[in-house]
């Protein structure tokens, strides 16, 4: 039997439970229901392009971009350090990245509040060393912090996986040819780890754009983000049609940006998360 057939159970599963639901969403986004009347319409999409919703979209993308960049800046070095650690510690260090996610999301976020609030632990500490209380809670910084905290593992894991795969002989060769450590990193390690970086960016960016709980809890609900908007449509307003349209637009935007990023990926095999 050809090995490619191994993918068919998966294909079957995903067709039923992932593709079919997606068609449902598409169907909702293209229809309307007004009392007893219902029919096909583009109005849900048109409505999304009203300035107020566009502003929500821009704000979400902006916050998600900032979080993604910070995740990358924080995550790459740590992935690099871990990949260079000796094999005994390596696995433990990586596992330690996943374990915090076993504590329920809501509990973790509440714990952050205890840390960040006006009379919170962080401020007590800062005041005691004379740095004065900082106003972090309920600002955009708190939202970004929440996103970075929750999505950092998704940046570190793929970069780490790629880094440990890099053929050491390439780096040795560069060294033999006279490149110093920095040049070797820029010319050899960094380009080779690019697939990991790209998957990391996608894995962090996607959930950051659509998250709603983080902005509501840490941002004090001051701003509606696209995730909140979608949730409101489905749950509070019951306008599944508009909610579906927003998520289809989101999906298209993400797919396009992934496509663009993919151009930097030499391994042209569609997107490559890990």
């Amino acid at each position: 039997m050809k090995r490619k057939n191994y993918a068919y159970p998966y294909l079957f599963w995903m067709t039923i439970f992932a593709v079919l639901p997606l068609f449902l969403v598409l169907l909702y986004s293209l229809t309307f229901k007004n009392g007893l009347k219902s029919g096909i319409t583009f109005s849900n999409f048109v409505r999304f392009f009203e300035p107020i919703y566009l502003e929500v979209l821009l704000r979400s993308i902006n916050l998600a971009l900032i979080s993604t960049i910070i995740c990358l800046l924080l995550g790459y070095p740590i992935a690099y350090i871990i990949s260079k650690a000796n094999i005994k510690h390596r696995n433990t260090l990586i596992l330690l990245f996943l374990i915090p996610m076993w504590m329920n999301f809501l509990l973790r976020t509440y714990a952050w509040m205890t840390l960040l609030e006006k009379n919170g632990i962080l401020n007590k500490f800062l005041t005691s060393i004379g740095l004065g209380p900082l106003n972090i809670m309920y600002t955009n910084s708190a939202v970004v912090l929440g996103m970075v905290y929750n999505f950092l593992p998704f940046m570190v894991l793929p970069i780490y996986t790629v880094l440990i795969k890099i053929d050491r002989s390439l780096i040795e060769a560069a060294n033999d040819l006279g490149a110093n450590k920095i040049i070797t990193f820029i010319k050899v390690t960094l380009p080779l780890s690019l697939p990991g970086v790209i998957s990391g960016i996608t894995m962090v960016f996607m959930p950051s754009v659509t998250t709603f709980a983080i902005s509501r809890l840490l941002g004090g609900g001051q701003f509606t983000l696209i995730g909140n908007l979608i949730e409101q449509q489905f749950i509070n307003v019951g306008d599944w049609n508009f909610g579906s349209a927003i998520s289809i637009v989101m999906m298209v935007i993400i797919l396009i940006s992934m496509g663009i990023m993919n151009r930097f990926d030499k391994d042209k095999e569609g997107v490559n998360l890990w």
Binding site: A7, Y10, I87, F97, Y149, L152, T161, S247, W274
Partner: protein
């Protein structure tokens, strides 16, 4: 030397960032007061009350049950799928990879509601089974995506060599390919388990008939204030997992060290 110290400090800071809220949670599981507003005194009472709380204990049971089944099935299906995808032609590969991204791309709430509508259309009664199916669905892509790169890294010649030496394809698969991609499978399984434990939105909308997991229990408690027993439970869970993983890691490390020794001696 400076470099090394810098690395150490940086690593310590990152892990401190990851674990600061966890420490807070653990501390507050011993807090006398029900509120997280202030620490009023040390107590073990939440731990003893925890085991008497029927609802929490049942939720705990369902959480683990669903996570184990979902991660096992998705690891199995996902690994097979990754092997299949790896051996496909470019076009087919691209289609399958794109399908793989669908659940990752959709906001949770959309996945949740569309799955719920689908189950009802299929005339499935919402409950444990539908919840497991949903969890498998959102875990699968992560497994596929963690196994695939390991396959890419695999030297195609070793499989051919095994066949040349008379192994049947399935024997070669079990004895040659699977062991080689094991790290990818393990990390996929771990990720699947983690995601399953932490999910609320999809679980909520795809369950029914009295089945609910810890996330649902915790979120629904929010209006009235989350019971401190939950902090106690999380602390226990966390410590168990930490100890377990460190133990497992010690064992696998030993094996890996031996393996690397063998490799070096080659």
């Amino acid at each position: 030397m400076v470099n090394k110290v810098l690395k150490r400090v940086y690593t310590a800071l990152i892990y401190f960032f990851l674990y600061a809220p966890i420490i807070i949670l653990i501390v507050f599981s011993f807090n006398e007061s029900k509120s997280r507003g202030s620490f009023t005194g040390f107590t073990f009472k939440w731990y003893s009350m925890l085991f008497k709380d029927r609802q929490i204990m049942r939720a705990m049971y369902y959480t683990l049950l669903v996570a184990v089944i979902a991660s096992a099935v998705s690891t199995f299906l996902g690994t097979l799928a990754a092997i299949g995808i790896h051996n496909m032609h470019r076009r087919q590969k691209k289609i399958l990879l794109n399908i793989t991204y669908l659940p990752v791309l959709n906001p949770d709430i959309v996945t949740a509601i569309s799955l719920m509508v689908l189950f009802i259309a299929l005339n499935l009664k919402l409950g444990l089974f539908t919840m497991i199916i949903s969890h498998i669905t959102f875990c699968l892509p992560y497994v596929v995506l963690s196994v695939l790169p390991k396959l890419k890294q695999l030297n195609p010649n070793i499989y051919e060599a095994a066949l040349d030496l008379g192994a049947t394809p399935s024997y070669a698969l079990r004895k040659v390919i699977i062991p080689e991609i094991m790290p990818g499978i393990i990390s996929g399984a771990l990720l699947a388990f983690t995601l399953s434990v932490d999910d609320f939105v999809i679980s909520f909308f795809t369950t029914g008939s009295g089945v609910s997991n810890l996330s649902i229990t915790i979120y629904s408690m929010a209006r009235r204030g989350i019971k401190p027993e939950i902090n106690a439970l999380s602390t226990l869970l966390f410590l168990t997992v930490l100890i377990l993983l460190l133990l497992i890691n010690k064992i696998t490390n030993k094996e890996e060290r031996e393996m690397s020794l063998i490799e070096k001696n080659k």
